[in-house]
Subunit: 668 residues, 2 copies
């Protein structure tokens, strides 16, 4: 029970601050709500023609008022909500601005106090409202929002404006909405609350989530995980670039780390998108079709025109979507259906299409390596009846369709296909986004299904850790480190060189020195006692670590730290300044499964370096996963540790080896 | 004169192979052309009710036939074109497939022979045709293409399918088309020919160019440069990913290097886009508005809803678009117009909009640092009449608008704004793409206007070049190299060490060894004669280069090579394997201006490394530009040189220095 039934399925609605001046918010809201198919009370104590109070309205209507839509200025809002609560309302919508986002936290606090006192659920303030089209409930100050049709997509937007913009785009794309909510300042009801409601809402088949900031990351991630296990979630996270100051003016909240939020939401099962059109393409498709969980679903492409098919293929390859060569048997079936001059290996180019197009789609969908068929065709009503061709495909697996053409033709084909359960995009890009969403959702579900064992528990003492101590922790975690000797004296260092043989690395050993290289505290490739003596002289009279040199390879950075919003998170990146300048890092919350951790390197821009670049070593994903999981576990188990980082963790032909390690934390 | 008037403004049209069987191509094409507002002849020698030949049709109609639309199978097409040419046609469209793309080059050669013999211009084969909506000329086998309205955008697409898909998307976005062409196999008419036609076509105000492959790169680049100087060109290049085999099956041509094609087209003045929807957003906006050339135009953002404004701002910042803080004077004017609770520095958030919205837009547009205003608003007919608010803005500079809302409301607002010359997108992403296109076009125009002096001429002898000789070429080009001594003997090497002081680099000096490091041919950091002797011993009895060591810095790779399609091209990338794995390289054709060469590093993903990363050195763009231009000039002047590369070219606090150089070419 999310407790939002009063908001989304109210038995009666009151507009507090209703007005008969059409320019006033109270009038616009009353007009929007006029289509509502339940009791509606217009309340304004200063207008004798309207109800003087919610209590009076309840008496007159003889029906309970569950939802109060509050259209009074910020300073008066809390009292209005309290009045409604006393009259029995269990939910309120406060649209006005002028709260935390505008430098008036006291008004927002007053609302929070009312929520606390009466247990009423409150949406807003500072939002343009919400829609439940199936109930003709348009609690929005954009009355034309009533034109958005009912359907399977729920929209949960940080911003009222984005909620409306996305709902309208969904309608434009032929999809309908179950519930669409703009959270505004989220003084009470937040994304997590709405997600919990949607989990049990039978009308919702997929969720579009728009995130500007996150207050409680773990709670949000858990809700996304619960929902995505039952129905797909697609997330658009704002703030890739520096927009912080404007964002804060908007909702009064600091922007959350874009990268971390994305990493954690994806881990929780949300398909990520980069913009509102892609959001619509993705969630629309997922509201109609969901693939079975699979590690890497194969996509068959059937196109009636080669050029758009090429645009589609280029995008799919760029999104790391697998478009497998069709089996000989499939190619043979396709060859029987098509003239010999077309390409038939996948993509299948039908040439100018006609009757039998559906049979080609069916043949491709029947290939054992094809989990999803993507079909593109220009609408040519004279030569191809796409709806009836595809309607014969019941025995075939999931299929999504792209159509181009005049808006009339596209409208006809699209509604025909939607009725039969096919998602439809109106360009190769839209189709590619739909395909990517379906594939990504199936991959995330597969990853979620792969249960992981717990990472090993290792006691990490409180205190300060020098490199030798930090590496001892790694040793205990089962992470390989070079053979090393901590030396208090020059004599010990020379003995260590004898023991290890050359070449060795010699480094300052001091927990207070975090950036050894930058102060000249590291000497590499020392082979003889002369060089060692030189190096020790330069390092001064200090403790040193003498360590065997590792073979060359590809350097990674792996770490775990405490995120202020999401708690313990783990990071994987490539070493080197270029990777650093690109902020090329994958992030997840800890704990995480082996499957989840194994997926991290595949997000890196420079991932090609990890897969045998120029004959180099190939990363064993599961070996890296165990390192990542172990570091995450340290932060979960040891509250006094703030951060643990291996930089570099070198990928060699013999596997991974930690060349340097830093642990920071409280000294107890 | 491009010689395509017979194709796009024919005095009469004949369909050869016209049919009365509605499923046949000849019937579909006849139906498409039935709306044409000039003489139309249906020709089929086997149908007594149609004209027996083009010649007969000319006689019967008493009018010339300029265009023959050929709807016969591939083997019969050349004869049909010849027949039309003999009857006076100056242009032909051949739609059928079955030519080079399907393994029948002989049929395509036959067409080429007819073109050669008769001088007729031929579009196709293997294309769905073209449209000239203003003349109701729909030479397409998609009859509904007649629904695409007339307007300012010309579409030049490699593929007939993409031509149609893009034209339909333009119509859907409220834009119209002047000419829309699918080139197909381009046996005769290619993109360059159409571009030359469009340069003189008064109806065309912007060009959408879709490229799959390029036969003659220099010719195409020159045509794009001619057109873009007069009207904007937006280019979508296919083939970022591995799509070669399917692409070849499509038009029979090998895919051109995606990166090089993009670099050269941009240099020629084309705005680049990543997909067909972005193409529509960009070219639609540019067909209505063009900014004055500017190095880096500033954009003012006015939004009626903060959330969509934030999506827009995030995208603009991610596209390196400048959104400057408004001047104090502008902020003061805006403050007088808006309630105090909104953000007003840029973006300007109007809060719930109403009358006076236009004045805010006008105030922002009047800021001295704003060259373009981007406006976003949900359509709220009750509170905001966007069309009349923006219609008062005559004295204000360029403005583009994003609107969200129900399709009815959006349609009304969009057509009202289009009539008044405002480009309109229907989502924050569409608006961002429009803004980016306008800004990029202005930047490219500014760069084109910056005339560059010729690069210096340096004689490069034929032969093989060892590192010392290659660096002597660099010295002559004015590119800094380390002090060095080429040594034939160990004695000379020791003398060189004395002369240069330590530390020095010692390297094998042999024109036959291109990858010295990989075979252990490079020893760095040698300070004393003992180390030098060790190094020389390891290198064996060979010539060596003894060279002063350069200070640390950021390594670049700069080179020039001969591209099979575009001729001499220059490349700039970052050093290191990560940059290499990302293929993070900027490409241009040589010769190029200082302004053009200076823009290259700004395209690199890792460009942050060049601008004082972590307190490091800052790249002087013009210093790099002179290096790039000089290398390009070598390839232009010395036909025996195949490639010249500096790797690394190190950015230090003292500027750029070439640490290694390779020249390869013919030995005479």
């Amino acid at each position: 029970m999310s407790g939002l039934d009063g908001l989304f399925t109210p038995r009666g609605v009151a507009v507090i601050g209703a007005s008969r001046n059409p320019a006033k918010l109270g009038a616009v809201m009353a007009r929007s709500l006029s289509t509502y198919d339940g009791p509606l009370a217009l309340v304004n104590s200063r207008d004798p023609e309207l109800h003087g109070s919610v209590e009076e309205a309840v008496d007159v209507l003889g029906a309970p008022i569950d939802l109060a839509v509050v259209c009074v200025p910020a300073p008066a809002s809390a009292d209005a909500v309290a009045e409604a609560a006393k009259a029995g309302a269990t939910a309120a919508l406060v649209c006005a601005g002028g709260f935390a986002e505008a430098g008036h936290p006291e008004h927002q606090q007053a609302l929070a106090d009312v929520v606390e006192r009466y247990g009423i659920r409150l949406l807003g303030p500072n939002t343009s409202g919400f829609l439940v089209p199936s109930r003709k409930l348009t609690a929005s100050f954009v009355p034309s929002a009533a034109d958005v049709p009912a359907g399977g997509v729920a929209v949960v937007a940080a911003s009222g404006g984005v909620n409306h913009a996305v709902s309208f785009l969904l309608a434009e794309a032929g999809y309908g909405v179950s519930v669409a909510v703009g959270l505004g300042n989220a003084a009470d009801v937040d994304a997590t609350d709405v997600l919990d409601y949607l989990l049990d809402d039978p009308a919702t088949t997929a969720v579009a989530l728009h995130i500007e900031s996150v207050a409680d990351g773990s709670r949000l991630a858990a809700a996304v995980a619960r929902v995505s296990a039952a129905k797909p979630v697609v997330a658009l996270v704002v703030g890739r670039n520096d927009v912080g100051e404007f964002a804060q003016s908007h909702t009064g909240a600091l922007a959350t780390s874009w990268r971390t939020t994305r990493g954690v939401l994806r881990q929780a099962g949300a398909v990520l998108v980069d913009g509102e059109r892609q959001l619509v393409d993705a969630v629309g498709a997922l509201s109609m079709t969901r693939l079975a969980p699979a590690a890497d679903p194969g996509v068959g492409v059937v196109t009636a025109q080669a050029g758009p098919g090429l645009l589609l293929l280029d995008r799919l390859r760029g999104s790391e979507i697998r478009v497998p060569t069709l089996s000989d048997a499939t190619q043979q079936r396709v060859a029987e259906l098509l003239p010999p001059m077309t390409y038939q290996a996948n993509p299948v180019d039908t040439g100018r299409p006609g009757p039998g197009f559906g049979s080609v789609v069916k043949a491709v969908g029947g290939d054992s390596d094809v989990d999803l068929v993507a079909v593109y065709a220009l609408t040519e009503p004279d030569s191809l009846d796409l709806v009836s061709e595809l309607s014969q495909l019941e025995s075939v697996g999931p299929t999504v369709v792209g159509v181009g053409g005049s808006s009339v033709d596209v409208g006809v084909v699209r509604s025909g296909l939607h009725e039969r359960g096919f998602a439809v995009g109106t360009s190769p890009a839209a189709l590619a986004h739909a395909v990517r969403a379906l594939v990504e959702d199936a991959r995330l579900a597969h990853r979620r299904d792969a249960a992981g064992s717990a990472a090993p528990f290792v006691e990490v003492a409180a205190g300060r850790w020098d490199e030798d101590q930090a590496k001892s922790v790694l040793d205990a975690l089962g992470i390989r480190t070079p053979v090393r000797v901590a030396c208090d004296t020059a004599g010990e260092a020379h003995a260590a060189l004898d023991r290890l043989g050359g070449p060795v690395a010699v480094k300052i050993l001091d927990a207070a020195v975090l950036h050894k290289t930058e102060i000249g505290g590291v000497h590499l490739g020392i082979r003889g006692h002369g060089d060692l003596a030189d190096a020790l002289a330069k390092l001064g009279d200090r403790r040193v670590l003498v360590e065997a040199m590792a073979p060359s390879g590809v350097d990674l950075i792996v770490g775990a730290r405490r995120d202020p919003v999401f708690g313990p998170v783990v990071l994987v990146g490539l070493g080197g300044t270029t990777a650093e300048a690109l902020a090329d890092v994958a992030v997840r919350a800890a704990p995480l499964s082996v499957a989840e951790a194994s997926s991290m390197p595949d997000e890196l821009l420079g991932r090609a370096l990890l897969d045998g670049w120029r004959g180099g070593p190939v990363l064993d994903r599961s070996e890296l996963a165990e390192v990542v999981r172990a570091l995450g576990q340290v932060l979960l188990d040891a509250p006094h540790v703030d951060e643990i980082e291996i930089n570099p963790l070198r990928l060699t032909r013999d596997g991974l080896i930690a060349l340097d390690a830093v642990i920071t934390g409280k000294e107890k």
